[in-house]
Each structure stands twice: as C-alpha cells, then as structure tokens.
C-alpha cells in the first residue's frame, strides 16, 4: 500500500504523463511487454500491462504510422483523447483522498482508513479499475490514471505479445479470437453495456457496488445509466467503422466483425441506422445486467440481501404527505414496501415482448410479499429470477436484427413517441428521455429532414434536457456534484404531464405537423 500512496501523489502523475509523449515517438512497432519468446502464449491468463505501455504508441500519430497507413485504421491518438478529455482518466484523481475532503469523509464514516484494504477493494475497483481480487500487483501502481485502457478493453499482456495486434492480419481476427487473448469485444452492444454497467450500475462479483452505507457516508447517488447516451457524451477516442477511411484489410475486418456496410447511405445515416438497430440490444443487456446484481445478491444473502442500495432510492427518500401521487400510483400494491429500481428494466418492459412483461411483473410483485423480497426467489435457479432471466435472454436473442435501412430510424422514433413517460419514476423517465433525445437526433440528422423540422427537433431536445436533467455535458474536471444538485431538484419537480406534452409535440413533428 505504501507503493500506492507514493504513486497517488499528483506530482508523480505529471511525470508519468510527461514521459508518454517522449516514449511514443521512438517506440513505434516495438512490443514493449517484456515476454520470453519461448513461453507458450496461453499458458497464463492475460494480465494488465498498464496505461504507460498502451500510451507509448496510442498517444500521438507519429509519421511512421501515417506512412504505413496505420492511422487509416486507428487514429493512434486514443490515449491522448482519453487523458485530455475523458473523465475516466481523472476518475481517481478527482477523488484522491489527499485532495478530496468528501473522499476522506466517506472513508472516515465507513470506519476505513486511507491506507486500508477497503479503499482499494471497494472504491478503486471502479475509480481505478482495480480487480476485485484486490491483487495489488495488477496495475495498482497506476491508480492515478483512473479508469484506463485495459479496464474496458481487457488485459493486454497477451495480445501485445509477439506484435499480434500490430499486424494488419489482426484486423481480420474475429472478436472471439481476440477475446481469447483477453481483448473485450466492445463492438458488441451486450459486452459494451456490461463493461460500462459494471461500474455505472454495479457488479457485486467485481467488487463494484456503491453500498447504501457508502451513499450515506457521502457518495453521490449514481444517476440512472443509459449506455448509448452515456457513450455519446464520452469524448470519442475511437472511430466507427463507417467513419474509418479506406484501410488495408477492411474487407476482412468487416467480415470478422459481421458488420455489413451500407455504402449507399451517408456516413451520418449509416451510424444512425446502426445505432437504431442496436438500441434494443443495449436495453436488453442493461436489464440482464441489473437482474444479475439481484441474483448475485440473493446468492449471498447474508452479505447483500436487503442492502438499501439495491432498491429504488425514491421508494424511501420522499417526504410524507397524504394523500399523495405516490400512494395513488401504487394502488393495488402493498403500500410501504421498498421496490427495486425500475429504470434498468423500464425499456425492455416497455418493449412489445409479453413474456418479458409478465416475468417482470412477477419479479416486481415479489417485493410486495415481504419487505425487501425473499432472496430464495431471486437466487440462481430461483423461480422469479430464472423466469425473468430466461425471458430477457429470449428477448435479447431476437433483438438487434439488422434492417440496413433508414426506415428503422423513423420507426424507432415513432415507437418511442407512443410510450407514455411514467409518473412518479424520475429515473425511468430520464432513461426514456435520453433515448428519445438520441432518436430525435438520429432522425433530425437525415438529409431529407427540413431545416424547420430540425430547428423544432432542437427545441424539443432542449425542453427534454431541461425537464429531465439529461444529456448535460460535464467538463473533464468538473465534479459530478455540480450535476447532482441540478438532477435532484429536477427530480423533485418532475411532472410526467409536462414531459408527455413534449413527447406529443415530437410525435406531431414526425408527422410533419409541428405545433407552434
């Protein structure tokens, strides 16, 4: 831990960052992981190599990359974009106990100590991508870099060996082949969702979970997470396939990634079509991920079951007024029972799959029977959890079928416009609102949409953003606490009727009947 403390020092971070630029110039095409060439590749599990190794190449496109056409395929500026713009790069730095009083308060109220194991195992799992095992030898000396390359892309020790991923032939490896070497397939909506949700929603097995005790000690409430919108707010250090200029091995890459190209459409349209097609896969993956948390909690009920953080914050945190809308909305349900947060499920449940709807209703009802629910029903193989899991799996298998046509954009927007915003569930409304905004943007970006319609779309997007406190872009070093006050007060003022009025305006816009 003393090593950790030493590296925590921000001066040290500046040194490391400074060295990246120098390294990157000279080290092109040199595999920097020191591996014995005789060692069989898959004898050991992939391990992390650290951001320095990645950044050695991926921070600036040196002339040699341009000459060899590498930059046609990848920008080679990924680490730079991440370091300069992405909040993930400061996920540790902004909460560093040396500088952040709130972190010290949380540690103190939790009864931990700054150099104790809990801080590593319960905070740095998300804030620095430290593995749940608490294996401090694995990348821990780089916590200063926060959520770094390998936290999402997978441990790099294997694919960086023997110049695998530097070869043009790497481009035609299938995602499965790459995964064998430890590289995560972030093209896949399900994998991508799981990766983000692991921190942004929680993951008990990975030691990534903000417990209610941690919230009470001062951790800001995690906002509801909508993967597509969240990704769109992230400063992109990647390029979509559609946005990549011609590169060597393109055909093999497209085939390996099973991504059909749509050359007849503009770049923006292609992206919008693919996004629209993928949306339901993202939704299903989010619901599956959230359900997995319940299953994991039920599997270890002594440790997890009944932790208030599993439940909807608003189920308890409200003022006591009678009569109230809260009571009327729950008519027919047992009053006074904590509920699971509905937002991760709301999109799939609002879909048109009756099996999912029924299984979710049963899941939700289970919390009526006894306060906090009975873990036996939610365990692996437990009746309620299993039914919902099966329904979501079946639903996920049916989703994501490519239409390859811009029709899907208007179709999806049309569908989204028909869904009522739920009264009394601000978090679910936020998720729904984010998707509506995203769909509206996709629709408005099409060439045939008139300037007037585009301006009206912009107005409606702005209204939704205001009413639902969504899509607000934070500067890299801006604290989420700034956002929090805004979101919490928007939540208190939340009025489903007002949002539904905007929704109807969008529906009218879609039919070419814009209301003044």
């Amino acid at each position: 831990m003393s090593r950790l403390l030493a590296t925590m020092h921000s001066g040290c971070k500046r040194q490391i960052v400074g060295s990246i630029g120098w390294l990157s110039i000279g080290l092109a095409w040199v595999s920097s992981a020191s591996v014995n060439a005789d060692e069989p590749l898959l004898d050991r599990a992939a391990s992390t190599i650290g951001v320095k190794e990645c950044a050695a190449c991926h921070s600036a496109p040196s002339p040699i990359y341009e000459r060899t056409g590498v930059t046609q395929f990848v920008s080679m500026r990924e680490a730079r974009v991440w370091l300069d713009q992405d909040k993930h790069a400061v996920a540790y730095e902004l909460v560093d106990p040396a500088t952040n009083a709130l972190t010290r308060q949380i540690i103190e109220r939790m009864g931990w100590s700054i150099d104790g194991p809990e801080f590593t195992q319960q905070c740095l799992t998300c804030h620095a991508g430290v593995p749940a095992t608490g294996d401090s030898s694995s990348g821990i000396d780089q916590v200063v870099f926060g959520v770094q390359c390998e936290a999402c892309h997978g441990p790099g020790s294997l694919w960086t060996q023997r110049e695998f991923h530097q070869q043009v032939s790497w481009r035609s490896w299938t995602p499965e082949q790459k995964a064998e070497l430890g590289m995560a397939d972030l093209h896949d909506p399900a994998t991508l969702t799981r990766t983000c949700a692991s921190c942004h929603v929680g993951d008990l097995k990975q030691g990534r979970f903000v417990t209610h005790a941690m919230y009470a000690a001062g951790h800001p409430p995690l906002p509801p997470f909508e993967p597509v919108s969240a990704l769109s707010r992230l400063p992109a250090h990647w390029r979509r396939l559609e946005a990549k200029p011609e590169f060597e091995g393109r055909a093999g890459y497209v085939q390996a990634n099973r991504r059909e190209e749509l050359p007849q459409y503009s770049l923006a349209e292609q992206v919008a079509i693919r996004d629209a097609e993928d949306q339901s896969s993202f939704d299903a993956a989010l619901a599956q991920h959230a359900l997995q948390i319940w299953i994991d909690a039920a599997d270890q009920p002594e440790q997890w079951w009944g932790d208030f953080a599993l439940y909807d914050c608003g189920a308890c945190h409200h003022e006591l007024q009678t009569p109230s809308q809260r009571q009327e909305l729950r008519l027919g349900r047992t009053p006074g029972r904590p509920r699971p947060a509905g937002w991760p499920f709301s999109r799939t449940v609002l879909g048109d799959d009756p099996q999912v709807q029924q299984a979710y209703a049963e899941f939700d009802r289970e919390f009526d029977r006894q306060p906090f629910g009975n873990p036996l029903q939610f365990q692996r193989g437990g009746r309620v959890a299993q039914r919902l899991l099966d329904a979501l799996d079946a639903s996920a298998a049916r989703t994501g079928q490519a239409m390859g046509s811009p029709d899907i954009i208007a179709q999806e927007l049309q569908k989204a416009c028909e869904l009522e915003f739920p009264p009394g569930d601000f978090a679910a409304a936020q998720v729904q609102g984010e998707q509506l905004v995203r769909r509206l943007e996709r629709w408005a970006s099409q060439p045939q949409v008139s300037l007037d319609a585009w301006a009206s779309a912009r107005d409606n997007i702005r209204k939704l953003q205001q009413l639902l406190a969504i899509n607000r872009q934070l500067e890299q070093r801006q604290s989420v606490l700034d956002e929090l006050s805004f979101a919490l007060s928007a939540g208190e003022r939340y009025d489903a009727d007002a949002v539904n009025a905007v929704r109807q305006q969008i529906a009218a816009l879609l039919q070419g009947q814009v209301q003044p």
Partner: protein, 505 residues
C-alpha cells in the same frame, strides 16, 4: 389479577395492608403512597396460554348497557353536582371523548382510501379479513362480526368495554357492596397510572394482536406518537382522579409521564416480539415501522457541507435507520434510575445489556435484523421489566431524582440532532415543569413546539434537516435549539448541574 402485588409494600414508610378487604388495600395504597409508585403487573399477561389481560376474553354488551340513567347515563355534566364523581360517564364520553367517534373515523373518506390502498376493501367489500380485524382491534374493538358484512354488530368506537373489559360477567354485580374487581377476570382495573397507561398503549402503541405497521402508515395512517402525560391531559375526562396519589401536586404530570414510558415500553416490546416471532396476522418481518421515520423519509437534495445529502447521521449507523426509540425511551431512564441505587446494579446492568443488544440486533445484524434474536431479546427485556414491577423493585423516582434525570435529557447535546429525541425531550419538559411556567419557559416551550410540529400537509417533520433551509424555520439554528433546551433544563432542575446525569446508556 393478583391482589398480592397490590398489597405489597416496598418502602419503609409504607404501611403493610392488613385489613381483610382487598379493595381497601388498594385505596390505602393509592391514597397514602406518595413516594412509591407501585405498578401492578397483571398476572394473566405473564402466563403463557392465557389471554393477555389487556384484552380479556368475555362477552361484550355494548356501551348502551352501561348508560341507564341510574347507572352511568346520569345527569348531564352541565347540571351535575360538582362533588359528583360518578354517574354521567356515558354522556361525557359520548359527547366529548374522541374515542366515541373512532368508528366514524374508520368510515371516513380518508380511511376508506387507506383501506383500498391496503387491499382490505375492494369494490365496497371487505376482502382481507385479517387486515380488517387489525383496524377494528383499535377502531371498534367489540369483536364479533357479522359473517355476511364483516361489520361489527355494535359500532360504538372505543366504548366502555374497550377499556373496562367485557361486561357480561360483571355488569350485574360490579355495583354491589363487597364486589371486588378480582372477582372477574374480564374486569380491567384502571385506577393506577401504570394500569391505565398500559391500557391506552394497547392501541396507541400496539400489541400482539394489533399492529399499526409500516404498511398502514404508507397507506396514510398517521404514525403513532403515544405520550401518556400529554394525551391524558388532553383527554376529555368522564372520570375524576382526585383520589389518585399525587393528584393536583407537582408530581401529577410526572407520574403519568413515567407510567406512560413504562407502559409504552412494555407494549412496544410485546409488539416487537410478536412481529419478530412472525405470529402477527398482518405484519411481515422485517417491520419497517420499528425504525425512525425521518431516518429514511427525507427527499434527496443537493449536497450540503457537513451532511451527506442533507442528512446528518451518526457515523455508527452507516446508512441504516436507527431503531425507533419513541416507545422504548423509558428503558434508558429506568436503567439510569436503577443505577442510582447500588443494590440494583445487577438489574440495571442486565437491562442495559439487553437494551444495547436489542439496538444492535435491530440495526446491525448483517443486512437485515435477525428475527429470532430480536424476539428473544424483546421477550427477555419485557420479562425483566415485569419482574421489576412484580417484585416492587422498580418504583417511580422521587421528585428531585426525576427532575435531575429530565434535566440530563434536556442538556444532552445530541438533542438538536433528531426530531424524535428532541420531541421526547419536549414532552419530558412539559411533564416536569412546574406550573404556572415562567415567561421565558413559555417562550422556549412555544418556540420548540412550533419547530417540532409537522408542517401543514405533512406527516413527517422537516426537523432537523430543514433547520437552516426550510421556510418555516429559517431563523432556527441548532445553537438556538440547544439554548432553549438548556433554559428548560435549568427550569426543571434549578439545583443540580445537568451534566452529571448524562450517562444514559
């Protein structure tokens, strides 16, 4: 009823009753005891298998049976002889006492809405018998229902027999010379403070057969905050307590307050044990009503320096609500009183240990409170209290001791931290302050009352998180609050410095 517990004398100045008539013993006890508060423990309550005495079995006749003009339906109070102590009980109750309207309350629009939210009433029909019985247990306790309508035959609210016991067995003889209450198991004596408070607590706190639990509160029922001193003071009386010990003295409110604390603790422990034993028809463990309302029910707002999202929590609770202390507040006081007597160390230690265990079990056992553990501890605590009363080992402290105890409570710096303890302290001050209050005492009490009362339209307090930010308390700071309480502490106990008495467990 066990007459021996009545007759026992525990004080050197107390004369041992030696006359033959038990009733005489009672009155001698009541009349002559000024420094000893002997609490009757009802024997039935301790013997498993028998109905608890606070809900004795027996046939109910209805209030009208008591209301004959020559019995309890006598002259209208306005015309009554000022010296008259009996005769007009029924009309007094009917015309003034809100208990006479508790059935109507249950029939109101607000209650109907609650019944529908709870799924007890659907489409105008009672569909949940157990839930309905739970409502009636307090709102209209005459038990037998029409099997068709599920309505009680007598709709009189909390009538005579609800408190005094089912009358069939004794109505014909209770006025006869020589009749004594112990001749009928279904007659409930209410002539001493503890008995009466315990009777009130069966509904105003709850018990093994009735539970105003979290589901009901969520459906809209106001949470219960029983306090015998205040509630008894406000109750329109159909009886006279002139012959009670301490009547009219500075000890009068204090005695009701103490009796209420003990009665509430006993009822709460009975309720808690039944919830945890899972024998309650309407409650499902874990029962959220066992926790402090305001610990969860506050709206999440923006970050507030010094507080986590506007909530100031003791770091030891780590985001868990503290067990509701309202009804158990008597326990630490009993423990403290016992500690003053070296001979009672074993008792006070045992009580203190088990009380701490209960807090721990409710708060801290893994993620959810372990039901068997909570039940065991609650039952043991209840038995300890009952043994204390039974053996006369616990008595109401003398006035000076009470005053210093209350002053200690009022001087506790933790008071400005939560609504519940601040309100309890307010009630303690109200019960202890000498009347008439001095001008500055009135000012402190009135200011405290205004910030402690729930804002209009709310069933919960905004105190203390609204101390600085809410419109109705903009001018209040925790320093001001402490100032008022210490002013009251000084008034309650002008002699001893309050800091000596703060070691409440």
């Amino acid at each position: 009823m066990r007459p021996s517990t009545w007759g026992q004398a525990h004080h050197s100045t107390q004369s041992t009753p030696d006359s033959g008539r038990w009733e005489d013993c009672v009155w001698r006890q009541v009349l002559f005891t000024t420094s000893v508060f002997v609490v009757c423990c009802v024997a039935e309550a301790q013997e498993p298998g028998r109905a608890p005495a606070h809900r004795p079995a027996g046939e109910v006749l209805g209030g009208v049976s008591c209301a004959a003009a020559s019995c309890h339906g006598g002259r209208h109070p306005g015309q009554a002889d000022p010296q008259l102590i009996a005769g007009a009980e029924y009309p007094l109750w009917l015309e003034r006492d809100p208990h006479a309207r508790s059935w109507q309350t249950l029939c109101s629009d607000a209650s109907t809405a609650m019944l529908e939210r709870l799924g007890i009433l659907r489409g105008g029909q009672i569909v949940d018998r157990a839930g309905w019985a739970n409502c009636l247990a307090c709102h209209n306790p005459s038990e037998h229902l029409d099997p068709q309508t599920h309505l009680p035959p007598l709709r009189e609210g909390v009538d005579c027999e609800a408190c005094h016991g089912p009358a069939k067995q004794w109505i014909g003889e209770h006025f006869l010379t020589g009749w004594s209450p112990q001749q009928s198991a279904s007659f409930v004596p209410l002539k001493d403070e503890y008995q009466r408070a315990r009777r009130c607590a069966t509904c105003h706190v709850g018990g093994a057969d009735r539970d105003m639990n979290h589901d009901l509160i969520a459906a809209g029922h106001p949470a219960l905050y029983f306090d015998m001193a205040v509630d008894h003071d406000r109750l329109p009386k159909h009886f006279r307590d002139d012959r009670l010990s301490g009547a009219g003295s500075s000890m009068e409110r204090i005695r009701w307050w103490w009796a209420g604390l003990l009665a509430a603790a006993d009822a709460e422990l009975e309720l808690l044990a039944a919830r945890a034993r899972k024998t309650h028809a309407v409650s499902v463990w874990p029962e959220l009503a066992a926790y402090r309302c305001s610990d969860c029910h506050f709206a999440l707002r923006g970050p507030d320096p010094g507080r986590a999202h506007g909530l100031k929590l003791a770091s030891s609770t780590q985001g868990k609500p503290a067990p509701r202390g309202w009804n158990l507040a008597g326990l630490p006081m009993v423990i403290q009183t016992l500690r003053a007597d070296p001979a009672m160390t074993a008792w006070s230690d045992r009580l203190a240990d088990r009380y701490a265990d209960l807090q721990h079990a409710l708060l801290d056992s893994a993620q959810q409170p372990a039901a068997p553990e909570v039940a065991l501890i609650a039952e043991e605590l209840r038995e300890l209290l009952s043994n204390l009363r039974d053996e006369g080992r616990w008595s109401i402290p003398h006035e000076a001791q009470t005053r210093s105890l209350v002053a200690g409570v009022l001087g506790d710096p933790a008071l400005s931290g939560d609504w519940e303890s601040a309100s309890r302290a307010y009630v303690a001050a109200w019960s202890t302050l000498s009347r008439p209050m001095a001008e500055d005492e009135v000012e402190a009490m009135e200011s405290l009352r205004q910030i402690l009362q729930f804002p209009p339209g709310f069933n919960s307090s905004r105190f203390p998180r609204g101390l600085k930010s809410e419109p109705w308390s903009t001018s209040i700071s925790s320093e001001q609050l402490r100032e008022w309480f210490s002013r009251l502490a000084a008034a309650v106990n002008p002699v001893a410095p309050s800091s000596d008495l703060r070691d409440t467990p």
